[in-house]
Amino acid sequence: MSAYFQFEEYHRPQDLDQAVDILSKFGNSARVIAGGTDILPRRPGVKKIDTINHLVDISKLGLDYLKKEGDHIFMGAGTTINIIGAAPIFLSGPYGALSDAASAHSTSTIRNRATVGGNLCNASPCADLALPLLVLDVILMAAGPEGKRDIPIESFFKGVNYTALNNEEVLVEIRIPLCSEKTGTSFLKLRRHQTAIDMAVVNVATSLTCKENRCETAGIALGSVAPVPFRAKKAESMLAGAKLSKGIIEKAAATAAGEARPIDDVRSTSAYRRKMVAVLVRRSLENSMRRCGQ
């Protein structure tokens, strides 16, 4: 018998309503499972999982889709990370950061199972996919007992492993607004072993919308340097409306480093993390600039 995570009951709802019903019935003792790559490695004795007795499997509810319609790209929460990494729509131009992040996330064997919804709902401070989705200003759609509701991604992350979702809610869809062709985005991740599975020491995503070297809007999202992934608003406002130069990019990167609130842990010191935020933001902004208008 496995010495790993055990629970009482596995539920396979036939549709979303059923999934919400089961979650409502069991409250805090139930969790959603899709790819399972976050929930299964957890060890017994960890307080967070000792209360989980019911797993509700949403992996067969048709939540794996990717389609462009009207002003948005609609991405099912159950879309696996490898599908996102290989999707032609994200390979170039305004959505490049999403493709970069999907390819940098863990290993391909995990990415074949892990889903974008799981990466968001696990709400790790270093969640790779959260960063490009933050700079793309996506809207998350959750299904609950009262129907569906939209949550802007900026108000989704509440703390480490803690989101705006209620116990009985399921994240079902990520809505990406179509970007202007003049937008370029990029994602960078620093880890101790660049090829192997490792969580980020620092990860960042940036977006720039430029017209003739003048920045119209800028987005900078920082990961692994606060309890939640977040937007560095002060740094962004320095770039908006400015003529892009090496100097202003470096200033914005330094400001972003000032907005970080990193901690010391097994992967890095707080001081190193803060320095690396400046380096990664600068490089990522340069990448974004190159990708503007591609």
């Binding site: 018998m1 496995s2 790993y4 995570f5 055990q6 629970f7 009482e8 009951e9 596995y10 396979r12 499972i33 790819g35 399972g36 790559t37 299964l40 490695p41 797993l55 499997d57 992996s59 490898n82 863990s106 290993t107 391909s108 064997t109 995990i110 074949n112 199972r113 090829t195 192997a196 599975i197």
Partner: protein, 161 residues
């Protein structure tokens, strides 16, 4: 505790099994089907020793609940060889001396099998990236990379997963 009935297609045969809700695929393969070629290393998705092919993709059997693969097609190292001869990947791992202690080998070969199945003739860079999912602490990676390159050439797209 209530067991759950599942039906899975493993190495060419259908099996009807009753599993605990928390049984991982690696437990069921090893303990119920006696397919002990699939190894458990870390049990938390870091080492790749338990890599198998699930519906043509390389996945980690320690991070999948058996109940979740009801109706799916699974290929393990035991199902790779068709007929009397070793599979080209197995042959190449032997001829290139890409094995030392052998614990990571089944996972590495199954990762390579899915890669060749999905990309036909992957280049060295792609192979290195893919094998970085599988930790080897004795032979290293040069020989396995050579072996996969050789096997991919020998197979010329004639693969299954």
């Amino acid at each position: 505790m209530k067991k759950i009935d599942i039906k899975i297609h493993v190495n060419g045969d259908w099996y009807e099994l009753a599993v605990n809700p928390w049984d991982r695929l690696v437990d069921v393969l090893r303990d119920q089907l006696d397919l002990t070629g699939t190894k458990e290393g870390c049990g938390e998705g870091e080492c790749g020793a338990c890599t198998i092919n699930l519906d043509g993709k390389a996945v980690l059997s320690c991070l999948i609940l058996a109940v979740q693969v009801d109706g799916c097609t699974i290929l393990t190292i035991e199902g790779l060889q068709r007929g009397p001869e070793l599979h080209p990947l197995q042959k190449a791992f032997v001829s290139e001396s890409a094995i030392q202690c052998g614990y990571c080998t089944p996972g590495m070969i199954m990762a390579a099998n899915a890669l060749i199945y999905n990309e036909s003739e992957p280049n060295e860079d792609t192979i290195r990236k893919n094998l970085s999912n599988n930790l080897c602490r004795c032979t290293g990676y040069d020989r396995p990379v050579k072996a996969v390159l050789k096997a991919a050439k020998d197979m010329k797209g004639n693969s299954n997963a």
